[in-house]
């Protein structure tokens, strides 16, 4: 294998273009051997090099005074005062999850956990953003069941609560589901660990599980379009070992309490290769690795395999000289492998030794800085015309269908399979606007939400990108937290097609503008391209994970109605925007018109106002409006609170547009009757459109004296019933 001649076929199999191969020849001044070719191919893959997205990602706002570390490290970091920091990131595991849903999703969770604890944080919350094909599609049920079991199987065992997420169905995901996992960890702000290697002669240490032939070429697989026969590439799937991960977390955190570590990095996609190259590149040093020292699970492993293996639950560290024994004792205590596999050099090269010979020698900068970067052609998505959206035949039925349908039904079936309470700090469980997790031992809490509305992004990438950011901001605000920063996972089709590239560019512009206006910087993220099957792309899906801080968690607001007689107040302007709405999609089966427009100044004004009401203790019941509009929010509050509502809405706008319209920057509040007038007056003073809609109570939802009249029992049954019924049907 070492001697094998590099033919154009082999180059192609490695996902490298002829030009890229020429570039390798130039960088080395000779032909690579197989090991080197493999290493270039993963380092230059879309997954590792971001070659199609890099120039656009550079435009994202990443700085604010509370940002400790923006994109570029394993995860991003923000300051939450009192000497504490939050470390978080979101990542995709789409392709593996389609091939093997349980293990694909499980290892996705494992990977994102490592990105976070490698920086010194104890992981405190998991989120999962999932997209599946149409419910009718033959594979959807099986994929949903497997993914949920895998997310739970890993997170539950490791003991990190999975506190929220989102779940969408759309036929564009039939052959390309999306599994995006996010983790948030807590660290001491003065005890953060980075990946830049330093100190010529310092030992390079491998810890965790042994290396097997797992997932070789996973990174290139994650960068290639699916075809019928890629289901055959099965052995590239890795099996997760959450028990080992748990031991690894404890061992790493224990070692981090000592003074032994100079740099640390998890072995993610492309394993040993990408972790050592990244550490060397960041530190401007070289690495000499002795592959014979790598702990191996299988016999006769070749350098190519060891370098490209994606075995899970492994980390690479650079230790201060003389600290090896101390570190080894800790990893032995936790029954994990520990091996010094190399040292830092001043060569600027990655040198690989095997059987006493050098089997690879590549300049680090050629692997990282010289990786190709493309400004791929992109065409903007054509602007659409606004359309009239028809009323339903039967508005009561339409409401029941929506609330009890795949898109708005309760996700309880999912989150009850996740231990969302372990660590005993989940003070707002799944089902609300944002999950709220207390900072252990304090009154502070963080709020987390993941959002994007892919159908908006498809219709208008710019507005859709803005909306995704605004929606997480709104969800975090709706529980009373101050949104601080986001992570993202940009899931798109084939970037070599200009219209797909146009979606990516458009969404990123929208995201940038919203982050800028809301002081909501991007601190980490991930890009997943080539989400296509046989030429059909997924809807553009830039998933946003937003995080905010609440200083006094006893003031937190929640969705359920709490008191009979509370006054129901709608904040924000209602124009009745129905273009690309969920109502239009599900009830009318259409995808027409323009998505709702987002005015970021209004967004911010309305949100800041709501947050102040919650912080002042004036409001404890709040829900933002999104998919399904006013009636969906009202139904959520009633169902979860087990209390009905009687409301009246004006007739300037058609009733279906008032109830189903997805106008942005709106919140529904239920306010104690004695405070209602004050709240309304304060809103008017702030220039915010406000309407008193009615009161909480009864066992029905009634609108306009019975034009809408639905028993809460029926609504609850429909809402809770859809997913369990769907999952148990054949």
């Amino acid at each position: 294998m070492l001697e094998q001649e590099i033919t154009p076929e082999i180059v192609k199999e490695h996902g490298l273009s002829a030009q890229e191969y020429q570039r390798i020849l130039g960088a080395l001044g000779r032909a690579p051997n197989m090991t080197e070719l493999g290493i270039y191919s993963v380092m230059w893959s879309e997954h590792c090099s971001y070659k199609s997205s890099k120039i656009h990602l550079k435009k994202l706002p990443t700085e604010r005074p509370w940002v400790i570390c923006g994109p570029g490290e394993n995860a991003g970091i923000i300051d939450i005062e009192d000497g504490q920091a939050l470390i978080f990131k979101m990542e995709s595991h789409n392709h593996p999850s389609y091939i093997e849903p349980y293990q694909g999703a499980a290892t996705g969770v494992g990977g994102i956990l490592r990105d976070v604890f490698t920086m010194g944080a104890r992981p405190i919350a998991n989120m999962n953003a999932l997209r599946f094909g149409a419910p009718e599609h033959a594979k959807t049920r099986h994929l949903l069941a497997g993914v949920v079991e895998g997310v739970g199987g890993y997170g539950n065992c490791v003991g990190v609560p999975t506190v929220g997420g989102e779940t969408n169905f759309d036929e564009s995901y039939n052959g390309n589901i999306l599994v995006n996992a996010m983790n948030v960890g807590l660290a001491d702000a003065n005890k953060i660990f980075y990946s830049a290697a330093a100190g010529v002669g310092n030992p390079v240490v491998y810890v965790g599980s042994k290396t097997g032939r797992d997932g070789i070429h996973g990174a290139t697989m994650a960068s290639a379009e699916f075809t019928e026969d890629s289901e055959e590439k099965r052995p590239t799937v890795q099996v997760g070992d959450p028990f080992t991960e748990k031991l690894l977390i404890e061992a790493c955190l224990e070692l981090m309490d000592t003074d032994a570590i100079i740099a640390i990095q998890d072995m993610g996609a492309a394993g040993l290769t990408s972790s050592s190259v990244e550490m060397a590149s960041k530190g401007g040093v070289g690495f000499l690795l002795d592959l014979d020292k790598v702990p191996q699970r299988e016999e006769n492993m070749l350098p190519y395999e060891m370098c490209l293996s994606e075995s899970q639950e492994r980390m690479l560290m650079v230790l201060k000289p003389g600290h090896e024994a101390e570190a080894e004792a800790i990893f032995r205590k936790w029954e994990l492998d520990f091996a010094v596999i190399g040292e830092i050099t001043d060569s600027g090269h990655l040198e690989l030794q095997f059987g006493g010979e050098i089997v690879g020698d590549m300049p680090i900068n050629s692997l990282v800085d010289d990786a190709p970067e493309y400004d791929r052609p992109h065409v903007p998505t054509p602007k659409r015309q606004a359309v009239e959206v028809a009323a339903p035949d039967d508005i009561n039925q339409a409401i029941l269908d929506l609330i009890g349908g795949p898109h708005l039904c309760s996700r309880r079936w999912i989150w009850e399979q996740y231990d969302h309470m372990v660590m005993a700090d989940t003070i707002q469980r799944p089902g609300g606007d944002a999950a709220v997790v207390r900072i252990h031992g304090t009154e502070k809490a963080i709020a987390i939400s993941t959002d994007v509305t892919p159908r908006y992004c498809y219709a208008d990438p710019f507005e859709g990108g803005k909306q995704a950011v605004a929606e997480t901001w709104r969800n975090v605000t709706a529980v009373g937290a101050l949104p601080l920063a986001i992570t993202n996972c940009l899931n798109f089709g084939n970037p070599e097609r200009p219209e797909i590239m146009g979606q990516l560019v458009g969404c990123l512009q929208g995201i940038s503008e919203a982050c800028e206006a809301l002081d909501y910087p991007v601190i980490s993220g991930n890009v997943s391209l080539y989400n296509e099957t046989n030429g059909t792309a997924i809807l553009p899906t830039p998933a946003i994970g937003g995080v905010g801080l609440m200083k006094d968690s006893s003031k937190m607001a929640t969705v359920p109605f709490k008191r009979d007689g509370d006054v129901i107040i709608l904040l924000g302007e209602t124009k009745g925007e129905l273009g690309v709405s969920l109502y239009q999609k599900q009830i009318l089966g259409l995808d027409e018109g323009c998505p709702p427009s987002i005015d970021l100044t209004t967004e911010r004004r309305n949100g800041d106002f709501v947050r102040a009401l919650i912080e002042n203790g004036q409001v404890d019941t709040c829900h933002d409006l999104s998919d399904g509009g006013l009636i969906a929010a009202l139904a959520d509050m009633a169902i979860s609170g087990k209390m009905g509502a009687v409301i009246t809405v004006g007739d300037l706008i058609p009733l279906h547009a008032v109830l189903f319209g997805e106008d942005q920057a709106r919140y529904l509040l239920a306010v104690d009757a004695s405070l209602a007038e004050t709240v309304i007056n304060e809103a008017m003073d702030a220039g915010i459109p406000v309407a008193k809609l009615g009161t909480v109570g009864g066992d029905k939802i009634t609108v306009n004296d019975g034009v809408v009249n639905i028993a809460l029992d029926d609504l609850t049954k429909a809402h809770e019933g859809w997913m369990p019924n769907y999952m148990t049907a054949e």
């Binding site: 079991e149 399979q417 996740y418 309470m421």
Partner: protein, 224 residues
């Protein structure tokens, strides 16, 4: 009151248990790593929930056979109140300190949610702070909580007052809806629901007192 929380490789509710014990008794428990089997005498031993050893093979199987369980068994048999929650219950059953076994949930899925429990026997060292027949809300979070024992054993448990808690609805297929059982002497309790997750009003439950908290208060009262 001096308490010990036993920590196995992969334990993940050990901190939750310790926080709850400290909140109720005012004293931080000692965290005992599974290799420290000569730990100081304590008034109360807790085996935490979650997982241990990844719960590979069978839940609790590896921990049950670890060296420290020999010590725990010795002290428990000598009368030290010993509580196993969730994984801790599985460990106690696997170690033969409690009768029966915990099998895969009848629904085959992991289930995490609040459940309503009936206090069947309020006359034990763990339940004296409740009223007999009282209903409390406590969360479960398990994949293997389906309590099984042969019918003679079940009758003996029922007749001997060893059933401490019963689910008020079918959660996991357990025989007779059993959620928690004690040994004959009544000083060892195993239960699948997590009382330690219900000692803090911010986390839910009725009022954070009548749910999980009273269990720890009962133990404390018994120690004096």
């Amino acid at each position: 009151m001096k308490s010990a929380v036993i920590v196995f490789p992969g334990s993940n509710c050990d901190r939750d248990m310790a926080v709850a014990i400290e909140k109720v008794t005012g004293v931080k428990p000692t965290m005992v790593w599974h290799q420290e089997y000569d730990f100081d005498p304590v008034d109360f031993i807790a085996l935490p929930g979650g997982f241990s050893y990844g719960d590979y093979l069978r839940c609790g199987a590896m921990s049950a056979r670890s060296h420290i369980m020999g010590e725990v068994a010795k002290r428990a048999k000598a009368g030290v109140p010993t509580l196993g929650v969730c994984n801790g219950f599985q460990v106690l059953a696997e170690a033969g300190l409690l009768p029966g076994a915990l099998m895969r949930n009848a629904g085959l899925k992991f289930v995490c949610r609040d459940v309503s429990l009936k206090v069947v026997n309020a006359d034990t060292r763990f339940t004296s702070g409740y009223d007999g027949g009282q209903e409390i809300t406590v969360p479960v979070a398990h994949h293997d909580g389906n309590y099984f024992a042969d019918s003679d054993t079940i009758s003996a448990l029922e007749d001997g007052g060893q059933v401490a808690f019963r689910y008020t609805e079918d959660i996991n297929g357990s025989c007779n809806g059993i959620a928690g059982v004690t040994n004959k002497a009544g000083n060892i309790l195993g239960m699948m629901p997590h009382p330690e997750r219900m000692v803090d009003p911010a986390l839910g439950g009725f009022d954070g007192i009548h749910d999980g908290r009273a269990l720890f208060e009962s133990v404390l009262a018994g120690i004096g």
